[in-house]
Each structure stands twice: as structure tokens, then as C-alpha cells.
Amino acid sequence: MQQDDVVEPRVPVKDELKKRTVKGPDGFEFEVDPIHDYYCDARPEVRPGSYLKIVEDLFNWARSESLWILGFGTGCGAIEMRPLMTPRFDAYRYGIQWRPTPRQANLFVISGYLSVKTLKRVIRSYEQMQNPKYVVGLGSCTVNGGMYWDSYNTIKKLDEYLPVDVYVTGCMPRPEALLAGFEELKRIIRAGKGEGANLYAKNFDWYKANQKRVIHDWDMPDYNW
């Protein structure tokens, strides 16, 4: 992987996000810098494993048995989640459940095509998730663009922008394929290879440069934890 220069946003920042002086209702004047005031944009750090392998193995076993998915449907693939979470396929029996916020989730399922506009939200949500976190690319669109391979608005290769642990191919993959993908992810985690978050921290500049190359109106902090 090569280091690229940081790409400057090509679209000017919106007015409401610019640094400015605001007068409060009590007459006080104060400075507001929306992009930097509300977020900690410290760079992510590589998380070292436990000092003993057996302890780390125990942790990994525990992590693999409680995959909490962020309920974020990016594309048509999100429709496959409904039969999965309801009694017909019942993914809950595998320790997999869906959570409403990124803070409570550790698995991000990119369900289907990912437009540039959605990618921006996906990056923000991914960065807010707790370590260790995993990404599953669902559907052919995340692998090589799928049927959107020549679209002006859809990214074609997800692992340029986020570290992906498992790809589940198909258009659409059946819920059974997704369950197999989750089992594969569990094996990867138990083997200690689910190091997506560390990979992201290690190659942070490369991922950021790739993200900024497609997102022209970058109006958020570089790492919004």
C-alpha cells in the first residue's frame, strides 16, 4: 500500500459548518467551530492484544459469539436482514443481533451498493463503533461494483475505503449465504485474524486519502470518534 498525498476537498464547506462568532440569547458572544468543537478527532490507535495468548483466545471466542450488527441498510441488501432476524432464519440463535446505534454494535454489514453519499455516513458510523469491529461486505456490489460497475455514483471496491473481513457474494445472497458468512467471520475472529480496526488504524492515512478522493464535500473531522 502506498501513501498518497492528502486530497483537499473540492467543494467549499457549507456556511453552517464554518467557524464563526455567535451571539447567545443572554448577549454573550462566543466562537463556534462546528467541525472541531463537538468531536474528538484524535487518530485511532492500534490496540495491542492481551499479554497471554490464552487470554486473547478467550476474548476472541467471546467476541465471536456476540456479533452485534449495526442496523444500517445501505442498499437493497438490507431486505435480506428481515428474514434473518425474524423466526424463519433466526440469526439470534448464533449470538447475532441488531442494534440501533454504532456505539452498541461491533459488526457493520454493508448491505449492497454503496453510493458516495452513503459512504460518507458509513464512514462516520464505522468510526463511532467500539473496537474491535468487523465489516462484512454483502452482495456483489461491494466486491467489484456488481450491476453498478459503471455507475457515476457508486463505489466499486469496498476494501479501498474500509477494512473488510468477509465478503458474501451474490445478487442478492440468500439469508443462508449470510449465515454461512457469519460462521466464516466467527472462524476468522476465533483464529485471531479479525483485525480490521487495527488495520484501519495502521493504514489510516491511506484509507483517508482514498475516502477523500471520492467524497468531494468532506465536511467532517478526519476521525469522529
Partner: protein, 178 residues
């Protein structure tokens, strides 16, 4: 429909008329004649519903064709009004005061085709695309494939088959023997 067209012909200068179905007619009108005609259709003839407002890019003639499709709910008939505007400096009068829904169509056309509608509410704001820096993507001189190849990372190994040839080769004896 016939009587309506006769009626309209007396009052407004109409261009070529295409009768698609007994209940659907397309009329080409001048740019300046569109607004009074739409107002007349809406207020006097019962065409109260703007079904769609869309554009076609006739790049060879250097024209954009705007189609305003209006519907008469009571009699169950439609009229499509076609207006041709030049491609360079493409601009059209806004009709958001006749139908408020037109503002949304006009925002979309502004973004996807680059046709200006001065005076339409929020028409210059982003609609679907965010941070778009290239040509409007629905214009025919915008090369989608070249853009996608240049803008997005590409994974090698993708194959494309023509479905008909592929299935013939798989299903027939000659194909399998090959």
C-alpha cells in the same frame, strides 16, 4: 380530445401534434407559449394534476426537450406538452406557482441535466448528489463509464457475458462441444 384540440388551436399557437392514444396527446409548443397554455389547461379544461416534468437530451440537435404531462382526472385524459430549449445556456421558466410539486422536478432537472429554472424555490441547492463536481450526469456528453473508471477504484477479474450467446453456448450441443 378532438374538440379540446380544436379549441386550443383557436386560442394558442400549437406546434406538431402526436396522437399517441385516444386519451393521450403530445403537443409541441413554443417556449413562451407554455405558461398561458398550462394555466388555461389547469383552470379551464380540468387538467389539474401535473403527472411529471422530465427532460430528454437531443444532443444531435443541440436541444433539450422538456415534457410536461398533465392529467384530467375527471375525464381520464392526458396531454403532454413538449418544449424545446437550446442545450447551451439551457434555461426555462419556472411553473412552481402553478403546481408546487414542479419545484421538486425542477430541482432534479437542474442537478441532473443542468437546466436552470430561475426563481424556483431552492433550485440551486443539492438535491440527490452531494459534492458533485463534474458535468450533470444525465447529459449525454457525460461519459458515465469513463467517469466511474476514473473516479472509483476498480477490481480486476470482472467478466461480462452477453446473456443470449452465453446461454446458447451452455445449452446447445455445438456450444458444449466447443
Amino acid at each position: 380530445m378532438r374538440t379540446l384540440l380544436e379549441n386550443l388551436k383557436e386560442r394558442f399557437p400549437l406546434g406538431p401534434i402526436t396522437e399517441q392514444r385516444p386519451d393521450l396527446v403530445f403537443v409541441t409548443v413554443e417556449r413562451s407559449g407554455l405558461r398561458p397554455l398550462l394555466a388555461h389547461l389547469r383552470d379551464r379544461e380540468g387538467f389539474t394534476h401535473l403527472v411529471l416534468l422530465t427532460a430528454v437530451d437531443w444532443i444531435e440537435e443541440n436541444l433539450f426537450q422538456l415534457t410536461y404531462l398533465v392529467h384530467d382526472r375527471r375525464r381520464g385524459r392526458d396531454i403532454g406538452l413538449r418544449v424545446l430549449v437550446p442545450r447551451d445556456a439551457a434555461e426555462m421558466e419556472t411553473i412552481h406557482d402553478l403546481w408546487p410539486t414542479a419545484a421538486t422536478y425542477q430541482r432534479e432537472l437542474r442537478e441532473m441535466f443542468g437546466i436552470g429554472f430561475p426563481g424556483s424555490p431552492r433550485v440551486d441547492e443539492e438535491f440527490i448528489l452531494e459534492g458533485w463536481v463534474d458535468l450533470p450526469p444525465y447529459r449525454r456528453d457525460f461519459d458515465t463509464k469513463a467517469f466511474a473508471e476514473e473516479a472509483f477504484a476498480h477490481r480486476p477479474g470482472r467478466e461480462t457475458h452477453d446473456p443470449a450467446t452465453h446461454m446458447r453456448e451452455r445449452l446447445t450441443a455445438q456450444g458444449r462441444a466447443k
